[in-house]
Symmetry: C2
Subunit: 151 residues, 2 copies
DNA sequence: CAAGCCTGGTTGCCATGGCAACCATCTTGC
DNA sequence: GCAAGATGGTTGCCATGGCAACCAGGCTTG
């Protein structure tokens, strides 16, 4: 009746630690970003736009880059537009397209939040991982991602 | 202006892979559980209760065990009660306490979903990790969790 | 070029989750 | 024994997210 009957004690420990990590690391990074008035999702959008030419991207491409469903992007961008973080305009060449762009306000926000976020990522992640461990982690992540995406 | 300016190329790759893993692995496990009519959160609650004596736990302890905010547990348990997965009763000794317990229906659901979930965890996680890699992972997780929880 | 299919986005509906306010009980310090 | 503070739960408000339905603008084919 134990739902994890086929995981041995060590695997159970490892899995619990993994689940805890997903929960607590996410929360820690969210708190960090919140100090700059951004959610994790906000930052994902802004970080992509900052790297894009002219600070704007087609909604379809933005969604694909972040790995989001188009509906999720649409709704989140609508909220961000309401907060003055992005603008939206029609794509000239395709009547369906929407071009999402940074506002100057967003540029300032990202300029402030970006370094803080990077610092948090270091503090909660990279600072705790030795180079050889990172190498192992990269290999494992690659396999997990391939399978989770693939099937 | 690059928000990740202080992460080098390799770190950026690793971080992107890590973020993708959180997103896609979570989604894969959620889809797996959904086939048994459960959300990840449902399963977390049920898995704890199944392991508890008499299949019931005090709400406070259940929340602590899962690592949830008391408000979150309260609301989720209310929804689960509505779906006939748990019962709630007052704690005799403490007028504030609520005891959350499994229904017999829930026991059947867990009996079916548990093995499937374990299989998914294997398929998407343990099967992709060699013993020596798991050792590294455990060490890293421990450090990350300590810091994410601690401060 | 017209019917039918494909694509890009938006919206509605519903389940989640965080946070703070609130209420009812304990518990503690005196 | 009681006032003040700590605990345990619930609720309201708001932001998120998934999924499917829907709609308008392309594209393909005969």
């Amino acid at each position: 009746m134990d739902p994890q009957q086929s995981l041995d004690a060590r695997e159970q420990r490892a899995w619990s630690a993994f689940v805890a990590m997903r929960r607590d690391l996410e929360a820690a990074l969210a708190r960090s970003l919140a100090r700059d008035g951004l959610s994790v999702s906000d930052f994902e959008v802004l970080a992509r736009l900052v790297q894009a030419p002219d600070g704007e991207m087609r909604a379809r491409d933005l969604a694909a880059a972040i790995g989001w469903d188009k509906a999720r992007l649409s709704k989140h961008v609508a909220r961000m537009a309401g907060r003055g973080l992005v603008t939206r305009r029609e794509a000239g060449d395709d009547g369906r397209g929407q071009i999402v762009g940074l506002t100057s306000h967003a540029e300032q926000v990202v300029a402030a939040a970006g370094p803080n976020h990077v610092a948090a990522v270091r503090r909660y992640f990279f600072d705790l991982i030795e180079p050889d461990e990172l190498e192992v982690l990269e290999r494992v992540l690659e396999r997990i991602n391939a399978r989770a995406r693939g099937s």
